[in-house]
């Protein structure tokens, strides 16, 4: 027996949504009024945002944060965070929004100073969740020694965004004499990574899909500005640094190979990977080289500075498992190779699209 589906179509009004609404009280949830610019909006800012982000510049509640500039060069970066789920083992969207932007500044050698934060909130988003996020943003910015000097919120109708989106922009000061860029890598450079790879991506996918492994993997989400600061303070001058986020270590290495026109060779046996991440990736058919990190530094340093840089990385609490994983073989063709544990050699290409778990 066949029947046409059209008749059965129901407007997608969301049965679940309307039931939830009945139970909601405006005092516990974001409502469209919070985005109106009126009293509720003012209350949202003064009751929630200000207590967490409080500082003299933000406190003026002007439309902009005004600050003095030091001599030297400024670095400016922006990033938008839409991670799902918003809370995960090892962090949440707020911590990520601070660390991600701080790290984007740190990897060019800049000392992160000021951040802006923009929030897109979905109607119905719980204020309790918002507070948890703001609290972890406060903690992360204190650790990274950055100040949020201007912020903005918008509220959109239910369904127009997924709970909460955050944009952060950051300004950092690049010390004079520091010139770090993915274009400056040279043949002979050592390749360092500040710790075990693939933890953030593995944590997110396990959380998202409710897959659990024997050892639970936590996101490595962390600010790297202190580690970078220590390297530079010691007089060491890395040629290039990156934080290998989406696309993982493999993608970062390829980007640098292309920017500097170099061939890079890494050793599989030297790349630190936690056993739990390795087993999770084996199960899902993922290659940990392509799995995201949120608290790792990849540094290309002159051979003679490799040992000292490694020592400083290891002294930092986020760099205990740092390792030299390979070297830049030659100038010329942009390629990344890996020497496998059993002595084979293979190409490490960029990530294409998303990694999907395999079928069998």
């Amino acid at each position: 027996m066949k029947s046409g589906l059209k008749r059965q179509r129901r407007k997608d009004s969301g049965v679940k949504g309307s039931m939830e609404k009945k139970e909601q009280r405006s005092s516990e949830f974001i409502t469209l009024a919070h985005g109106s610019g009126g009293k509720a909006a003012h209350e949202l800012i003064t009751r929630f945002f200000l207590p967490y982000f409080d500082n003299p510049i933000l406190r003026t509640l002007d439309d902009q944060g005004v600050f003095k500039i030091e001599s030297g060069r400024l670095a400016l970066t922006t990033d938008t965070y839409v991670v799902d789920p918003i809370f995960f083992r090892g962090g949440d969207i707020g911590k990520l929004a601070i660390c991600g932007t701080v790290n984007d500044l740190a990897v060019c050698g800049a000392r992160p100073v000021y951040l802006s934060a923009g929030f897109v909130l979905e109607e119905g988003f719980s204020l309790e969740k918002l507070e948890r996020i703001l609290s972890s943003m406060k903690e992360a910015s204190q650790e990274a020694k950055v100040t949020i000097i201007t912020a903005d919120t918008k509220v959109v109708e239910r369904g127009a965004c997924d709970e909460i989106f955050i944009n952060t922009s950051g300004i950092g000061i690049v010390p004079s004499g520091v010139e770090i860029s993915s274009k400056l890598v040279e043949a002979g450079d050592a390749v360092l990574v500040s710790g075990a790879i693939g933890e953030h991506g593995t944590a997110i996918i396990s959380e998202r899909e409710g897959i659990s492994f024997e050892t639970e993997v936590a996101s490595d989400c962390a600010p790297l500005s202190e580690m970078v600061g220590a390297i530079l303070a010691d007089g060491l001058r890395p040629h290039a640094m990156r934080d290998p986020t989406r696309g993982g270590l493999a993608t970062t290495l390829n980007e640098i190979a292309m920017a500097s026109h170099v061939e890079i060779e890494i050793e599989e046996a030297l790349v630190p990977i936690a056993t739990a991440v390795k087993s999770a990736c084996n199960l899902l058919g993922f290659d940990p080289l392509y799995v995201a990190n949120e608290g790792k530094l990849v540094a290309f340093v002159p051979e003679r500075e490799a040992h000292d840089t490694l020592t400083i990385m290891k002294q930092n609490k986020y760099g205990k498992n740092a390792a030299v994983i390979g070297r830049v073989v030659s100038k010329g063709e942009a390629r990344v190779y890996m020497r496998t544990r059993i002595g084979g050699r293979r190409l490490v290409d960029m990530l294409v699209g998303e990694q999907f778990p395999r079928i069998c």
Partner: protein, 385 residues
């Protein structure tokens, strides 16, 4: 002193976790070299049936480590790659029906059908959701009683038992809005189809590990008895694969083809009888079309009549578009091991992982994508990576 392979054999049978031990690899490679030499053969061709093996062989760089007279060919063992355009078009078409939630394994998303993909259908408004298991699809059905939730049942004997278990659960619960589009395939008939290919002189098969955990190793008996070549059921880590090559070579040298199980820590002679029982309680074999291999008798699974109410296409009218295969694409030949990806004019130019033409380029376990990712667009002269 024990022969080299035997030492490794003892070590590996201890069920330790380190199946990538470089010392074991060295011993095995030495043995492989000796055997390849003493075979006195100019060319020895083994085929890895399974896509996961194809990728593993690249990831460990095994091709570059074994002697030149051993050639490893990739077979039809990627469930995504062998799903024909007609099945994909059919599923895309049903995803466009109002009120339908189409659920799929992630790696089906980007597979090109005749003129669209599920990813494109999703972007243009279809409710397509990636799930990790058919059980997740059933959960979506429970949570959305006003929707018709359809699961694209693809995969080999590895996925079929879980899908069968899901349908048994749905039947027990009386779920009215959960369906599948059955497109599961069976591995042994495809191996037979490949072995029937003319001019394909194979000396042995590296048989799948995961599939064999379900179907067991005994089913491969026809390979030595009817085709006169060996078959070794193999695990997925580097020394697993090297050891399997060793065993196949020994069979070649001794001219005694037989079925052996290297992956005995997971695979028994009879496989997993409980899983097979559930699978055949719900499904029965039927003729099925494979991309590249064409129609193969009794190589697919359809729902038994008592479960046919779960077959979406039996219940609802789905417009079935005319299917076209991509012009110039050699996926079919590649899946049979007759051509290598480099033989295809589209490879690396018109067909890349970013915009795949053929299915073998779509998934990470497809032969073409494995070549592209791990060896580059073209082999330049002798400079093999």
């Amino acid at each position: 002193m024990l022969p080299v392979a035997l030492i490794v054999e003892c070590r590996m049978s201890r069920f330790t976790e380190d199946f990538e031990n470089p010392d074991d690899a060295k011993l095995l490679l030495r043995e492989i070299k000796n055997l390849a030499h003493s075979s006195n053969k100019e060319r020895i061709q083994f085929m890895e049936v399974c896509g996961t093996h194809t990728v593993a062989i690249f990831r460990y760089g095994i091709r570059e480590l074994i002697p030149n007279n051993i050639r490893l060919l990739s077979g039809p063992g990627c469930p995504v790659c062998v799903t024909p355009n007609s099945s994909i078009d059919h599923f895309i078409s049903l995803s466009e029906l109002p009120g339908v939630v189409a659920t799929v394994f992630g790696d089906m998303m980007r597979v090109p059908g005749s003129d669209s993909s599920l990813e494109m259908a999703k972007a243009s408004g279809s409710d397509v959701r990636v799930v990790y298991s058919s059980l997740d699809a059933l959960k979506i059905a429970r949570e959305n009683p006003d929707k018709q939730v359809v699961f694209f049942a693809v995969g080999f004997e590895t996925t079929a038992p879980t899908i069968a278990a899901t349908l048994l659960t749905a039947a027990r619960e009386g779920t009215q809005n959960f369906f599948v589009l059955p497109a599961n395939k069976l591995v042994p008939p495809a191996i037979r189809a490949v072995l029937d290919t003319e001019d394909l002189a194979l000396d042995g098969l590296i048989c799948p590990g995961h599939v064999s955990a379900i179907i067991g190793s005994r089913v491969y008996g026809f390979i030595p008895s009817q085709y006169g070549i060996g078959a070794v059921v193999t695990g997925f880590q580097s020394t697993d694969i090297l050891y399997a090559i060793c065993l196949l070579l020994r069979q070649v040298v001794e001219a005694k083809p037989r079925v052996q199980t290297q992956y005995s820590r997971l695979v028994s002679d009879d496989g997993n009888p409980a899983a097979l029982k559930i699978m055949y309680q719900v499904f029965e074999p039927c003729d099925s079309v494979w991309r590249g291999l064409g129609p193969i008798p009794m190589s697919g699974l359809k729902l038994r009549s008592e479960f046919s109410r779960f077959d979406f296409s039996e219940r609802f009218d789905v417009p079935i578009p005319e299917s076209l295969e991509a012009k110039g694409c050699l996926c079919g030949e590649v899946l049979r091991g007759k051509k290598e990806p480099y033989d295809c004019a589209l490879f690396g130019s018109a067909c890349t992982p970013e915009s795949p033409v053929g299915a073998c380029m779509v998934t990470t376990e497809g032969t073409c994508q494995a070549y592209y990712r791990y060896r580059g667009r073209r082999i330049q002269g002798e400079d093999r990576v």
